[in-house]
């Protein structure tokens, strides 16, 4: 016999005035979640809710959209497996679990990146799918996942004219395409994320917060392979969370095959390249200079 908690009805009424109570759905499968999203106008998918439930000033209730589709009971989204070349994870995997399963298997830098996101209790709720789906900000894991050539698998329903049933569409694409257009479509559900686990000799992830303002930051991340003191593969990216994941594939390709350590001229031209890559960070001299220093320091590290 359960114990019944007491709810104060007067408080309920006053809470309701400003924040309308949402309708919450608990689908058990991906197709049920998609169907629900199609039938309920303005519904949102709810994963860990750490983004959706932030920024409400009211201490008693959380401001939520009118229709919420909780993904917590969709088992297919919680699965994870490992193949020879990649880690396949369901979008509902929490960042905490990803860090735990990947501590020894995740590519260099990724573990460090995960455990720098919020606190552990927050990571026990936040999911990788939610992290990638947030639209107004680029999550900290995106730049490195992009360098690793992570792919995302989504599903959505497309209306068929004149028919009652909608067509189910599956899309698999590089994570870089989450940015810009078409990006993640409305009603498109991130189902799986595939992270290649091929090995890199060097990997780095740095998040620089120059002032006390946590919103002003930038990330530098890089991967490198070195064979007999020759740089055979280099990838590097920058992000300030808003102006896109900044990267220049031509620069990276141009660096491959260079003997290490780089000479002064090569380092200077790399400085120029970093200047160009970070051009969208207008008037942020500190960030641009630090970015160059970080790249030089990485080059130094891989030349040892």
């Amino acid at each position: 016999m359960p114990f019944y908690g007491r709810q104060n009805s007067e408080r309920n009424v006053s809470m309701n005035l400003k924040y309308t109570s949402p309708r919450v759905f608990f689908p058990k499968s991906i197709s049920e979640a998609l169907e629900r999203n199609r039938s309920e106008a303005d519904a949102v998918f709810w994963a860990g809710g750490t983004h959706l439930s932030r920024y409400t000033e009211n201490k008693t209730v959380i401001s939520l959209p009118k229709n919420v589709i909780s993904l917590g009971m969709v088992e297919e989204l919680a699965r994870a497996s490992r193949s020879e070349h990649s880690l396949e994870i369901g979008s509902m995997m929490t960042l905490d679990r990803l860090a735990a399963i990947g501590r020894n298997t995740l590519p260099a830098g990724l573990y460090d990146a995960i455990i720098r996101i919020g606190s552990r209790p927050m990571r026990c709720r936040a999911t990788i799918g939610g992290h990638l789906a947030v639209k107004d900000k680029i999550g900290d894991l995106r730049p490195l996942l992009q360098l690793l050539e992570t792919t995302v698998e989504t599903r959505s329903l497309k209306e068929r004219h004149g028919r009652r049933k909608a067509l189910s569409l599956t899309r698999k694409f590089p994570i870089a395409l989450l940015e810009g257009k078409p990006g993640l479509g409305g009603g498109e559900l991130i189902c799986r994320i595939s992270i290649p686990t091929e090995s890199w000799d060097y990997g780095t992830y740095k998040k620089i917060i120059p002032t006390e303002d946590e919103e002003r930051f930038f990330i530098f991340t890089a991967l490198a392979r070195v064979e007999k003191e020759v740089l055979t593969d280099l990838r590097m990216a920058f992000s300030d969370g808003y102006t896109g994941v900044l990267r220049d594939r031509d620069v990276e390709v141009g660096m491959a095959g260079r003997p290490l350590r780089l000479n002064t001229k090569e380092l200077e031209s790399l400085d120029d390249a970093v200047d160009t890559i970070t051009e969208p960070w207008e008037k942020r001299d500190y960030e641009k200079e630090t970015a160059k220093r970080l790249v030089r320091s990485f080059m130094n590290h891989i030349s040892r």
Partner: protein, 159 residues
């Protein structure tokens, strides 16, 4: 919305709004006064509870998320004999906690001990940093957590 869940090992049920913050719901409807709501933004950690054995911040958990979950708070874990391991660990490391942080730290430690008794240094650090406290050094709290893990291991071997 009627929500059934387990609270400190007992089945409970409540008719509430789905977007009610769990921290408020637990405090006001279930008299769980050990959790505190300070920042309401996942920053301080004082609203920490265990949900299916994981530490989570109840200020960011709406009531509907409690459905069918196994929730533990200080009121529950402190009634168990094994709680003495946590008290012992903090005491022997000479870590004194204030009333706001103590329940959250105890729960974060309990979550870790339920997960593993031989935690990695990173996991111990993450546990110590779960609560944003201005007075205790992380290193001392880490020491306390490791001592608690040893005491728990001893208890399990002896039982």
């Amino acid at each position: 919305m009627i929500i059934s869940f387990f609270l400190n090992g007992n089945p409970v049920e409540i008719d509430t709004m789905p977007h009610h913050r769990s921290v408020d719901l637990l405090r006001e409807s279930f008299q769980i006064k050990s959790i505190q709501q300070s920042c309401s933004d996942a920053l301080c950690g004082t609203c920490l509870i265990l949900m299916d054995d994981r530490p989570v911040l109840s200020c960011l958990v709406p009531a509907f998320e409690l459905k069918f979950k196994d929730i533990w708070t200080m009121e529950g874990i402190s009634s168990k004999k094994s709680y003495a391991d946590i008290v012992g660990g903090y005491k022997s490391a000479h870590v004194q906690l204030c009333n706001s942080c103590a329940p959250a730290r105890a729960l974060a430690t309990e979550a870790l001990l339920r997960q593993t008794l031989r935690p990695s240094a990173e996991l111990v650090r993450e546990t110590a940093e779960s609560v944003n406290c201005s007075c205790c050094s992380t290193r001392r709290v880490m020491d306390a957590i490791l001592r608690a893990a040893k005491l728990r291991e001893k208890r399990i071997h002896e039982s």
